[in-house]
Point group: C2
Chain length 476, copies 2
């Protein structure tokens, strides 16, 4: 993966390639069954298209092939997958999302699967193992030595949210009592160094981590210098049980390229690399955004309708229940509405502004919780600030809408109730916008999960209650 | 920045340190004016706290100091800033967000500012220059040579969204016709190599980029080997005018650590490094999340109330206008509501489910637009799928709510109108949830910007119109 074939100055070229693949795949769909059997077609014109598609695919970097597959609907996806260069199958499988990976693996037979994964590194194999049929994993593991089998099993034993699930075992380690010259000679004996090797790990006889020797230092050091004297001893290191998002944050903060992973005795067992951490950062931010809206993170854009229905089911049901509650709140005031129909027209304004403003607050808090913890004292201060913002907005916009309501219905009371209700609902929105995510976080839950649905529920019911309640008290 | 002092196994330690700093800063606030003058306090107890705070701060990595400053309210922030180790001032300024940076720079006098930035690399200086007083920038630039001044000016001439704004000028380049032995000897003459040096750029006499020599290859190569024979010629490279988010996506896709930046003649001018790209990825995802909710990306968590009011102003105003439109839609049906008050209690359910479901759709589309472009054919397919999901959900949940409405009001007509209105509003939500972001993207606008506010506006007005309209036709 070290020489991406695509030159960025042809980034438009890549976009054009993808568009082209889409068109070719759509055209070739009618020959689906013939193509599954062999990679030529009897009809000249169709065959030319087929060969062109194969040609483009074989020139793409595996990561780009993965992007193409993600962007295709299921049937075209399988067609293109069958045409992609088989020697890159493994790399592509590693790059695609979980749901797309499932559909690709389904389209492969056992021998294709074994061929795709048999040369994989232990950590990559562990990544895929959950999605592969058991007999494929067993067959591939049989060809590995004891150490590698243990590595695969170790990596598989950790949760996806733990460092252990993304660590990799390609480590280069040396002793501290040798000279730089010796290190350079030692390195030269490798056929190739692992990707992203920016430092060499220094260990003692028992593989206990002593420090790291950055390659940048090794290259400028006097060859006679002893490693121990120039290595960095204060090392950012991780444990396999550590939270992977915290590790990614540390990579971001300290600008790391690789970092050692050690066990409880500081024995070096693996390393983390920045490319995995970049994926973690991307996924983390996306997961926050999706889960605020009440979506599972794994929905394939072209998932079958029924899968999508199931994915969105829970939060729609929650929304219906809360909407029903709002509806019952209004039901309590049916008498008031029957007397003053204007209340029915104005109440959605109160509820709507609360929902919008609450969403702004909650989004800010969720974002800041993602990057650091908020102490109790700070939560209190934030609450004070958000309440201040709500008060200002409530008085200003409430007055505007109060005047508008007065102009519409020529009733001072309705105008004043509008001002009061909007201000109070904005204060409620601010209060809950801070408290919901902060409390979820304190209770160890994901503060983003469905938070947008929840806040809207409260500001709807609350808005109706406040507005219709005030109207009942002061206008009837 | 290469030896972060913090050991991750004390990641709890860091959290504890931050909590501790918060407490000490709050306690010391009353001595604010005394501390500004000198770094000791007459009172023993207070002085002990002050010295402890200084001690903790001086042990933290600049990135951690930046995180601490971000998490503090304005006054404590300035206090802690005054106590932080001055030799790290420049690094901290580079790490904090724009709004916090402003408040820190305000708290510094000219000599402190000059001291903080005078040793900075050209690209870092260019980053800060916009926020610094002009006379500070001028003074610092005077000490630089012609080449560096040109670099600072070049970097400053690009938009924040362009590669030119984040590229850095610390490049190590060699000729292709030398042996690896010569390269190793050349590198040894450096005092230190730039951060993140994972490859050396190979150029000709005119600095035209010929290829790259990965350090990993250099280290295992035969010393007699000629660079040209082992360098990679297909290089992912960028232009200063390129979009920085596309560059970040390429780093993510191709697992890059550094990449060359070249001008229109392929002359090597700078490089990009993964640490900057990680920041771009983080900011991009956050900006999407914030802008969906109608928030500017730059709001400081502890910004003064008035700044926050201004930040959220526009979208609240948009929301009010749309809520007013919804209200007028209801107003048209005042007669119907006066006859059947139940309509007022049920209408928010129809609007609410549309808003929720539309937000789910729009979030998915915004996310997928962020990672790749969607062709017209695909947009059409997505639309079909989302309409399918909406139809299923509408019929299922619509029937549930139809039954509930029937149970509440013993009126078959109301139940049937409910089923029809919910289904139609979900279809509207799906249609707009796909069309709004896709059209915004096609028109070259940010598809995330305020999209959540917009969809809710349409599903509210639309929901009221559909429900009350159907009720007027069939129930009156």
């Amino acid at each position: 993966m070290e020489n991406p074939i695509h030159d960025h100055s042809d980034s438009e070229q890549l976009a054009a390639d993808i568009e082209h693949i889409h068109k070719l795949a759509a055209h070739l769909l009618e020959h689906y069954s013939e193509i599954s059997e062999q990679l030529t077609l009897p009809e000249l014109h169709a065959n030319a298209k087929l060969q062109m598609l194969i040609g483009i695919l074989h020139e793409l970097h595996p990561a780009d092939v993965a992007a193409v597959l993600e962007s295709l609907p299921p049937k075209e996806r399988v067609l293109v997958w069958k045409l992609a260069s088989p020697e890159e199958d493994g790399d592509v499988l590693l790059e695609v999302s979980d749901s797309v990976r499932e559909s690709l693996i389904e389209a492969m037979d056992k021998s294709e699967l074994v061929a795709a994964v048999e040369d994989m590194e232990a950590d990559d194999l562990a990544d895929l193992a959950d999605d592969l049929p058991t007999h494929v994993v067993d067959e591939v593991l049989q060809t590995r030595d004891e150490e590698e089998r243990a590595q695969v099993q170790a990596a598989m034993s950790y949760e996806d949210s733990q460092v252990g699930a993304v660590m990799n075992f390609e480590i280069v380690s040396i002793r501290g009592d040798v000279t730089c010259e010796v290190v350079l000679r030692y390195l030269r004996r490798f056929d190739s160094l692992p990707d992203h090797t920016d430092k060499i790990f220094v260990v003692d006889d028992n593989d206990i981590l002593q420090g790291v020797l950055p390659i940048r230092k090794l290259l400028v050091a006097d060859p006679e210098e002893i490693v121990e004297n120039i290595m960095a001893k204060d090392v950012v290191k991780f444990r396999p049980e550590d939270d992977v998002e915290e590790a990614a944050a540390a990579f971001e903060r300290y600008d790391l390229v690789t970092a050692p992973v050690v066990d409880e005795n500081k024995k070096l067992i693996a390393r983390l690399t920045v490319d995995e951490m970049v994926d973690v950062i991307r996924e983390e931010s996306e997961a926050d955004m999706l889960s605020m809206a009440g979506l599972d993170e794994d929905e394939d854009l072209f998932a079958p309708v029924w899968d999508s229905v199931k994915n969105r089911w829970v939060w729609l049901a929650v929304n219906l229940v809360t909407a029903f509650v709002s509806s019952r709140v209004i039901g309590v005031f049916e008498g008031a509405i029957a007397q003053i129909v204007a209340l029915a027209t104005l109440m959605p304004i109160v509820a709507g502004i609360g929902g919008n403003s609450g969403n702004q607050t909650i989004t800010m808090i969720v974002r800041s919780l993602a990057s650091s913890q908020i102490s109790n004292a700070q939560a209190f201060r934030l609450l004070k600030k958000e309440l201040g913002v709500a008060l200002v907005n409530g008085l200003i916009w409430g007055s505007v809408m109060g005047l508008v309501s007065f102009a519409l219905y020529h009733n001072v009371g309705i105008g004043l109730v509008m001002v009061a209700a909007m201000t109070l609902n904005l204060l409620l929105a601010a209060f809950l916008g801070v408290m919901i995510p902060v409390c979820l976080e304190k209770w160890g839950k994901d503060p983003a999960r469905g938070s947008s649905v929840l806040i809207t529920a409260f500001t709807d019911s609350g808005g109706f209650l406040i507005f219709l309640g005030l109207a009942t008290i002061f206008l009837l």
